[in-house]
Assembly symmetry: D2
Homo-oligomer: 400 residues x 4
């Protein structure tokens, strides 16, 4: 793609087809007030209930046409477990978005101080497994495909825990969870190198996640959170390996400069997002069929709704850029080791301004031509602030 | 020092002299319940009031003989500002520890969402300066030497703030603060590369801190928090440079594996602590006279009191190791570029087990021979848990 | 800039003005065979003499219209020192490019094993200073503005060298160099955190470089090599600080994923380059007047000429993107803390495809519309390979 | 272990048993002149032939009693392939050290510019496989157990190579190599995140190495080079995982501050070495039986022989410290989550000065009490310098 002018029919076909197939899940917790360990800056318009989260998610989907599901966090969204399912079903219908992945909470209970799945205390491990099984049950009832397991376990100081024993305990908990999965369910095993455990994290990298998923059983896959990597690590290569092994379950998208900063997708390194999408689009076999795109962000400063819409739009646009790559031609240049030509072909698509074409697609699909502008003129956020402001005002959390 | 056996009289003199001169400040917030952004694990024995914090600090000092001051956090410990000073004075007398550095809070107020000293809104900047001036006033009243300024300001996304304008605003706030300092007061300017701001932090590294301190005036120095560095950065070299420029104000000691993990000193990389102390002990001029050693840690999992005592003891022991270095002989080997001999001399002192000698020093000074064991047998923590348990039980904070 | 279509006259004016003023210097060593510590892959067309380097640089300038100077490496390009100046003058005239910055070599002589400017041996330090003075002399004779000093000194093991003494020795060498500068000369002090010294580097970061430059005198400024930073470090913020202090001398541009990989500019993180150019373009005062843009890359795999042309073109294009930013409007949004609007304005310019407009500029200035394509059709590289192939064939260097 | 005094009989038994079983392999290339990409500092006493390397290795073993094998580098040490085996056998007998691991060279041939095992050109891949097969043959003839495969392949720029295709090519090469292994041979697959490839490395981390080894066959294991990790990565956890999977083949020991700096073991972070040895010593099953300890260092500044002896001695001493850990008691404290007690027990052993005890062991085994001192008084290095000086003088390699 030598230039952004006159991309031509073939490019348009590619981009439209890509956008038609593109879905990304928003997280319920992205609509409520969150913060850093130093405190929360409370937003008046933040969602304060599961209904408000569905309302917000529905609005994002209406604006973008690409976010038909909302991830649920078990403890916060379904505090009564399976009993909350009927209410969720009603909300699904009311707001036109379905429940997406089910996210167990293995970090908040005071019992989990020294771990959940890998706590040396067998009773705590049972508690964790019970919570996992309940999460599976909720997913089953909701017809939700994925249980996304983020294991925050680990230790803070060398010598204070047995890394080896904890591997076995983690294997046991995941095996028990896998055994309970329904025929259409999957479990996604997430990894993270640090935080909130600071010396060792029981599932620290994709290798550990893959081995645990492999041991758990055929319905277990790996979940890649783009913020959960070492600095300098090549995430698209990990994606390529997981596709090669048919073990890629999905993504938690966000961006970061240093650690797991949970910034909006592509805000720090947009080229990396392009490269990840390229690996996804390079795979045409079954390994890519069920890869789930999900957002996991924490909007401390940006407006929740603005940030959500901005993220979906950015994802669509970068995905469209990656869809422009002529993969056949690229493959030939790569095989000839014509480095500069291959690189120019590749990043020429990154440099191409697809925004006019994405706008055309939006209009052709009856969507808002400019979702962010539409959000602004709709007055949605102001309405929400009025309705929710009082409830949010009291919820300031502090460091100490 | 070829071996740990029979260190000899000269070594003992060095170590005893070093320990006699060694003081390290404990932070009031190290005794109360803190956590990560994912929640707090509440400890029954944690301090719930300024009096309990002084009580805990007093106990640490009694056990170790090296922690005669406690750092105060203005918002949490002196919520009424200068009016709280009389109470603090009473507590000083009652518990035998003095108020140490005064730590303003520039991150918690909802007004600080987009910054405090460098907020684009002039009214918010005034609020921040007023808080800084009150902190100076509290320090003046208490006869405390240092106001330790941690500036958490920054931005999360490229393009959203003017880095240049914020430099000027930060300079202005620090100049106003400096102007209010009493004749015996100093202000220490801390730096931190990220968190809670994730894209840019207004005072990101020692170079920025030094230039701001230099511009503020002669009573401003740089504060080095050991956890506030990039991975791979050579902290002892920064210490050497700050001593060379006579700009080293003091330390916030802690340890980390990845980010600013606030782990106990020396728990991850004890050799680094030795190297830092070596640079300190290598300086004999006035530049080192007032360097303040302070602890800034967050004990999420360890018992607060145990962790505090363990930290002070570890600091004493590593300081004693560094005191063993024969700096004259080392200088000769360094100048001859006899690398292996110099290295063996240097780290031979690190390898030397000074614990028996430190124990002798403790006994000679009428202190507990084994402070951690003494803490355990004293029943102090159990008593505290009984007295404070109910108040702590209700204070669970959560992520969302 | 909401879209890449119809950028309009005002945008074109900005971009054309920016491109008219844009100059970037190519390094002579970018045309000759270099490698990693594991060996060199020899290219037949690589330059084997100072004349061939000038020929190559001249060709790059002819194609791009933006690279009128070539950086010289004293030891490699002017082995006879000032005596080589007449030949350089002839080459300048013959190939239409002038000698640019003068780069002393303080790392290759066997005497520099334990350092050059900061070697504990006073005789070696004298040798280093003599080389620096000769570099100044060469620059003076050539009418070259900048002497770019990269200090590779440091140590590999804790305790083996005195960091403090080495600061003083480095100050002395730089002072001596500064004293010799002519009225129109500057010295640029580069920094680098590691390699080839692995434990400590005497000038490790911009803070150290700035203090050394400041101490040396008013003609000393800081040189920012984009590859010489810690992971996660915010380079554009350092640029902003250096501009604020009027201490930014220039850049060595390249890119990297992990360490100082010397990859082509913008190949890994193009958004970062945009952000750096934005800081430059935000400064309108004298602090930016003499900022020198230079390339420092090592093309191990790409063809030397292709990589050089590709780099200059990429620099022009990203500079043009940064020139699109409406800085007044951005400033207003930043001051209102309208984060999402500010970010969209800012990165909207990054997303805009300026390539058609840059092509128009090229044509309007009588330059090749597509420099890379023109290089290919010109047959220049094939000719060079024929002429230089035999000389290059024998020069394979190996690891051990 | 509360203190370093009076370690007692049980401690001595543990340490002596540990030291009796401790073997570490020295690399032939550690005795010859190597450097950084900026050049080599030539040492007069460096080995210039395979015989001199054996002589040096023999001397290290004589001094330390722990280094009975020397790793061979195929291209440099056996340039004639299997035909060199008879000479190696003679050297083994003459110098009392055996040939250890066989190290193919897949990076030096000009054909490998774009890769060896994963080069898109099938002919180059055949060349690489042929070299691997020859390495297997050499190992077979020598009765050497391990072929250590370091794959330096990768790419420097996004889009220039197909990461996916290269996985398959790498699998094919390793399968072919595995098929040729004799009944007592193993192949060890090394990983490295970057250098000399800078954007992606085909075997970038332990997960990729493990999957490749697993696919190759049962005689393939993973090789952990301690310098080949991301900053902040927990190496001992990887070791624990590899032991858990029975996939740990061995180590390349060295240390680093930033990248793959190839510094002497324990020179930067000795506590990490202790933690790695603790994981090794915690495994009592067959998974640890054949773990090979090897050194891979590049002594640019230190004397080759001094550095080699220093490394082996350091390894012995830290191994002895780790042997002091009472693993049963530690396990109990870990299971009780008594963090501080567990940590103090654990690092108490690190703090214990084992040097007197290691000296006793040396004397009891008829070895030099102080190997480094003995090396110095022996005059070995001076002799070598005289004999080899002339040959070394001519071998200066340079950057450009």
């Amino acid at each position: 793609m030598a230039s952004g002018q006159g991309l031509g029919n073939r490019a348009q076909e590619r981009v439209f087809a890509a956008l038609d197939g593109f879905r990304i899940e928003v997280p319920s917790w992205g609509f409520s007030n969150t913060g850093t360990r130093f405190g929360k800056f409370v937003q008046a318009a933040a969602a304060t209930s599961i209904e408000e989260k569905f309302a917000d998610a529905g609005e994002v989907n209406k604006l973008t046409g690409a976010a038909p599901t909302v991830a649920l966090h078990v403890l916060w969204d379904t505090p009564k477990g399976v009993k909350d399912v009927p209410q969720i079903r009603q909300l699904e219908e009311k707001y036109g978005v379905r429940a997406g992945s089910i996210n167990p909470n293995l970090f908040q209970d005071q019992a989990y101080k020294f771990g959940a799945m890998a706590n040396p205390d067998a009773d705590v491990r049972k508690l964790a497994i019970a919570h996992l099984l309940e999460s599976v049950e909720i997913g089953k009832e909701l017809g939700s495909k994925d249980v996304s397991i983020w294991d925050s376990d680990g230790s803070n100081y060398p010598g204070t825990q047995s890394i080896r024993k904890r591997i076995v305990w983690t294997e046991e908990a995941l095996a028990a969870t896998h055994a309970a999965l329904g025929p259409d369910q999957r479990m996604l095993v997430e990894y993270k190198p640090f935080e909130p455990a600071f010396y060792h994290t029981d599932i620290a990298d994709w290798g550990m996640a893959l081995m645990l998923a492999h041991k758990a059983g055929p319905k277990a896959k790996v979940l890649v959170d783009t913020g959960h990597h070492y600095q300098g690590q090549n995430i698209e290569q990990i994606v390529a390996w997981l596709l090669h092994m048919d073990m890629l379950g999905g993504f938690h998208f966000n961006d970061r400069k240093y650690a797991d900063d949970d910034l909006t997708l592509g805000s720090i390194d947009p080229y990396q997002v392009f490269r990840i999408f390229h690996e996804i689009l390079s795979e045409t076999g079954p390994a890519v069929k069920d890869v789930a795109f999900m957002i996991d962000q924490s909007h401390n400063l940006k407006g929740k709704m603005e940030a959500a819409v901005q993220t979906v739009v950015t994802a669509q646009e970068i995905y469209a850029r990656a869809a422009l790559v002529d993969r056949e031609q690229l493959g030939e240049l790569q095989d000839k080791c014509d480095l500069v030509a291959a690189e120019e072909l590749y990043r020429g698509c990154f440099w191409t301004d697809v925004r006019p074409m994405v706008r055309e697609w939006r209009e052709a699909r009856g969507l808002a031509a400019d979702p962010l502008a539409q959000l602004k003129t709709s007055g949605y956020v102001e309405e929400a602030a009025k309705a929710r402001g009082a409830k949010n005002a009291g919820s300031v959390a502090t460091y100490a």
